[in-house]
């Protein structure tokens, strides 16, 4: 087990390294020089003020999403539940877009956008709660309602965007999920939140493992299933809101990384929760590095400097393929 963690940590370091050198305009040698304290002012600025926070935000958001996904899937006992289907992600997008459209927040002030996204995410979750919470917390129902809530919120977002067409261009990237232009402020907002809720998730690991076995077994072991599920949902929502506020609606990470984590670390959440966090960080960071590299390649082949692939595009494409595998593998009675 510890060896697996070590391998993952090494992977994370490698991904981080690639991420640091993947951007445009600086050769790996220069990056190394800057890390050693050399380089000119511009290079230093790029590395310390742009790339490093970007890297950290990618790592943090990935970890958040993966943990949220694992918590959700355990609580709802549904291998297909993910942050995307809780109404949190579209809610957060709606919050951010609305705040921008109403002029409360510009994209130049991360704090306001992050706050608005968090509020929106919580509102989306509350809406889900109102719909599904009264249904006795039946897992399948909760998932279904989540999808429908997401649809409504998506419609609202569309409305706002059409009333304020000027925002569209800047928002589109964010709708896919991107780590472009993240600065220290984003990181300072993200890490305390992630740490606090990560700790909560860690504390919930035991009860969640029981919940995975089914409500009857959990009850027999003396666990109040509904209460545990409520807490778990709250935790997942908070983590998702934080991550979405930081990087936008990054798809599929929260849905698929948990499957990976469980297959690597086993079903005991006390091991697989931190494992999922590491894996999520690695995945998002690696995807971001890959997105940057492929953006450069594309820009060279198409001869246009404008094109940047958002990281969300990559995770979505990979995710869809992986999803097919996951769904085919799970026996149908688990739904």
């Amino acid at each position: 087990m510890s060896r697996r963690f070590a391998v993952l940590a090494a992977l994370a370091v490698v991904c981080a390294g690639v991420e640091l050198v993947a951007g445009r305009g600086m050769s790996p040698g220069v990056v190394w020089g800057v890390l050693g304290g050399g380089g000119d002012a511009t290079e230093r600025h790029i590395l310390w003020q742009l790339r490093l926070p970007r890297l950290l935000v990618a790592l943090g958001a990935g970890a958040c999403l993966a943990v949220a996904g694992l918590v959700l899937q355990s609580a709802l006992r549904n291998p297909l539940a993910g942050p995307e289907v809780t109404g949190v992600t579209p809610g957060a997008v709606l919050g951010a877009v609305t705040a921008t459209a109403l002029g409360f927040a510009g994209w130049d002030s991360p704090l306001a956008v992050v706050l608005a996204a968090c509020l929106g995410g919580c509102a989306g979750a509350a809406l889900l709660w109102l719909l599904a919470g009264r249904g006795g917390g039946d897992p399948a129902q909760t998932a279904v309602h989540g999808v429908l809530v997401s649809a409504v919120l998506g419609g609202l977002t569309a409305m706002v965007l059409l009333v304020e067409p000027g925002e569209l261009g800047s928002v589109v990237q964010w709708l896919v999920g991107t780590t472009e232009g993240r600065v220290w402020q984003h990181w300072h907002l993200l890490w305390p939140w992630a740490l606090a809720w990560g700790a909560v998730a860690w504390l919930l690991a035991g009860p969640l493992t029981l919940l995975r076995c089914g409500d009857d077994i959990a009850l027999a072991a003396g666990l109040s299933a509904r209460r545990a599920r409520t807490l778990a949902l709250l935790c997942a929502v908070a983590l998702t809101a934080g991550a979405v506020a930081a990087v936008g609606a990054l798809g599929f990470v929260g849905l698929l990384v948990p499957h990976l984590a469980v297959s690597v670390f086993g079903a005991d959440l006390r091991a697989s929760l931190p494992g999922a966090a590491l894996l999520g960080a690695v995945v998002v960071c690696g995807a971001d590095a890959a997105a940057q590299l492929s953006s450069r390649l594309l820009a060279q082949t198409l001869d246009s400097g404008r094109l940047t692939l958002p990281v969300g595009a990559l995770t979505a494409c990979l995710g869809a393929a992986l999803l097919l595998v996951v769904v085919r593998r799970t026996p149908s009675r688990t739904f």
């Binding site: 289907v85 129902q141 998932a143 009333v163 896919v176 798809g251 739904f335």
Partner: protein
């Protein structure tokens, strides 16, 4: 009527006939005949197609949530249409439906492939949501590549909008409808058999898997051309069938099909009015309105309509019942609501619910009732 007379310029209802007759001479006449009438016709056709397609999918998969949006069909079709737009390939208008068709088939096929055909509603739904999300992501990537000017156009289209549609757009739809309508009529009886569950359907000589694929194909043929013209107007395929069921819970699929189409037409037409007027002079897409209002309404209908209504097999093993655990399954919350609804209505439901779900014109369905199969 509202669709024809409201807007700028306002044409009062009593002058409509005159305006249409004088056709091309007055300003109001031109507006009505060249802009509003085709728009109305298009709304009716699109709504009918989407409503019918929604019902076909829902019945074939025995899943009240199997709607075009949830199966990735709509997103796929939109992708097929938007891609050439962004990549600035100029294509003849006739090719667009074909592209949409390919995209829709891709999306729907992907979901069904992933979810398996006989899985439970929530599995299909979640898989579909994921597939749709992937396709949406692809769309968004395209949008990132697009020009600012194109962006708004595409975005509006993606939500389903009837703005600035003329007779040309309407005339492009006829050939597709000619293909789809007979197919619909043919598949309706099969659909009512499908509701009994796979084993019973097989006993009656219906190959369930094939029937599902055929239903998907029909739905794709219905949805794709509409999408090509006015974008995937969201959630009509969800709302219309539920409306049809709610008003006539005792009928079978055969009866619901025309009603579903009619309701779809009504829904889109009604949604188009606020779409034009709510935030004038900015036009909002009709799809946004249908999504906003359609989903809650649909959920409400689903909850009220399911109560006490089971299929012939009652509480048999999952897979044979229509919905093992969709929303509206009798959980405590639903039971509370049940006690609050008007007693007369729920009583009527219960009587009808006791019937085997299949239309009255197919006696063999009755014969393979509940006990002998189990």
């Amino acid at each position: 009527m509202c669709a024809l007379s409201l807007g700028t310029p306002n044409v009062p209802p009593h002058r409509l006939a005159g305006a249409v007759l004088e056709g091309d001479t007055t300003f109001a006449g031109i507006v009505v005949t060249e802009l509003r009438v085709p728009r109305l016709v298009l709304a009716l056709i699109a709504g009918a197609c989407l409503g019918a397609a929604g019902l076909v999918l829902q019945e074939a998969l025995r899943n009240p949530l199997a709607v075009p949006e949830m199966l990735g069909v709509s997103s796929g079709a939109a992708l097929g249409v938007a891609a050439p737009l962004v990549l600035t390939l100029s294509l003849p208008a006739a090719v667009q439906p074909v592209l949409a068709l390919g995209g829709a088939a891709l999306g729907g096929g992907l979901t069904l492939l992933a979810a398996g055909l006989g899985r439970s509603p929530s599995a299909v739904l979640l898989t579909g949501a994921a597939v749709a999300a992937a396709l949406q992501a692809a769309l968004l990537v395209l949008m990132v590549m697009a020009d600012q000017l194109d962006l708004q156009l595409i975005y509006r289209y993606l939500l389903g909008s009837l703005s600035a549609r003329t007779w040309d757009d309407v005339s492009g739809l006829w050939p597709w409808l000619l293909v789809a309508a007979p197919a619909l009529v043919l598949c309706a009886p099969v659909l009512s058999v499908m509701r009994l569950g796979d084993e019973d359907a097989a006993a009656l000589g219906v190959r369930a898997q094939r029937a599902r694929l055929a239903a998907l194909a029909i739905a794709v043929v219905l949805i794709a051309p509409v999408t090509a013209v006015c974008g995937p107007v969201a959630w009509v395929g969800f709302l219309a069938p539920h409306l049809a069921r709610w008003f006539d819970p005792a009928a079978g699929a055969v009866r619901w099909l025309p009603w579903s189409a009619a309701w779809g037409a009504v829904v889109v037409t009604v949604a188009d009015v606020p779409a034009r007027l709510a935030l004038a002079p900015v036009e909002t897409p009709a799809g946004a309105w249908t999504a906003l209002l359609g989903v809650p309404a649909g959920i409400a209908l689903m909850r009220s309509g399911r109560r006490g209504r089971t299929t012939g097999r009652g509480s048999a093993a999952s897979g044979a019942t229509r919905v093992p655990h969709g929303p509206g399954a009798l959980t405590s919350g639903a039971a509370e609501e049940a006690s609050r609804t008007a007693p007369s209505r729920s009583a009527r439901r219960d009587e009808s619910g006791a019937e085997v779900a299949g239309d009255a014109s197919s006696p063999p369905v009755r014969a393979t009732g509940t006990e002998d199969v189990r």
